[in-house]
Amino acid sequence: MGDYIVLAISCILINNILLAQYLGNCPFLGTSKKMETAIGMAMAVVFVLVMAGVITWIVNTYILQQFSLEYLRTLSFILVIAALVQFVEMFLKKSIPALYAGLGIFLPLITTNCAVMGVCLINVNEEYTFLQALVASFSYAVGFGLALILFAGVRERILLARVPKPLQDTSIALVTAGILSLTFFAFKGMV
């Protein structure tokens, strides 16, 4: 049990997917201008990442490794993720329309979110067991949400500040992300 807690903490804080592993930065900058969109994106990522992590782990262990087809990993993972996103979209539309409306445009965008693909690949490269992969996927997704929502909060404040013209928009956002990443650095060496 303790091992899983350590794994979860290290995935959420120390190896934060956005700020320490540099994955999923396009939605990080793209959807963090407003708190609402940031929360929508964070929820969609948690939802899809956990499912994708589990399914790609099963595909890799029981299909690819069984028939020594590891070289098809990239191709099969992206297909699984794309199909999964499509399926989740249709399922939510029919059964939970409220959640579907909430997630809106962010669901299809997740297909090209490298955080999802990245976590699936990390799970495989680190040779996690099934439970470890599940915990890691969930914790990485929570870490993504945490960083995204924190960053959206900071960016809303920046809108009120006077920023020099060449630094405006993406430029200042990147510098801010750097400082946020520096604060997450403080967690290093905790585990």
């Binding site: 540099y22 297909l79 979110n113 693909m117 993406t170 430029s171 750097g178 990443s181």
Partner: protein, 201 residues
């Protein structure tokens, strides 16, 4: 006609240079630019995928039904990424290990899919080739530049063709912040700022 192809090519080098003008595909930009070599290696791998997928998407653009086009594009891209992965594993193994997870992640690089969707699916083969090559080389230049700045200030050493050059002399105290994650964000942000200043003149 010849002039427009040249234009398609050169726009990728400055007007639409990927990580700066189009803020897409940031993850590899931030992650692999610890050194110049990594940056350029990653840029070349991406260029190859970009050019090949652009050509194939453009030549199949009348066959692919528009409803399933994104899925088709992704499969085409994933195929070429697998090719790059296997080739790099065979010929440049040390670089392959350094870039690690970011090679398979070229599949989800928004630049590649973005060019397939926005350009190659609407234009002819030659124009798409020029577009892919231009954007790819622009991307490589940007990665190389960012890698150079970070390596120079982070370690004080610039490695070119496996020859380390000590630029600032032995008494230089390395600015380790630059090669860590926060340095990547700050450095890219400041480079974007410099580009904006040059653009506004």
């Amino acid at each position: 006609m010849a002039k427009t192809i040249v234009q398609e090519f050169t726009k990728g080098l400055w007007d639409e240079i990927p990580p700066f003008r189009l803020v897409l595909g940031l993850c590899p930009v931030l992650a692999v630019t610890k050194t110049v070599e990594n940056g350029i290696g990653m840029g070349m791998a991406t260029t190859f995928v970009l050019v090949c997928s652009n050509i194939l998407v453009s030549s199949l653009r009348k066959v692919i039904p528009s409803k399933v086009r994104i899925a088709c594009f992704i499969i085409i891209i994933a195929t070429f990424v697998t090719v790059v992965e296997l080739v790099m594993q065979a010929f440049t193994y040390p670089l392959f290990l350094k870039l690690g997870i970011f090679i398979p992640l070229i599949v989800v690089n928004c630049i590649v899919l973005g060019r397939a969707e926005a350009f190659a699916s609407k234009n002819g083969i030659v124009a798409s080739l020029a577009d892919g090559l231009g954007i790819g080389i622009g991307f490589t230049l940007a990665l190389g530049a960012l890698g150079a700045v970070r390596e120079l200030f982070g370690t004080g050493i610039l490695t070119i063709w496996e020859k380390p050059i000590q630029v600032f002399g032995p008494s230089f105290q390395p600015f380790t912040f630059m090669i860590e994650a926060p340095g990547a964000f700050v450095c890219l942000g400041l480079m974007l700022c410099i580009m904006n200043m040059m653009g506004s003149k």
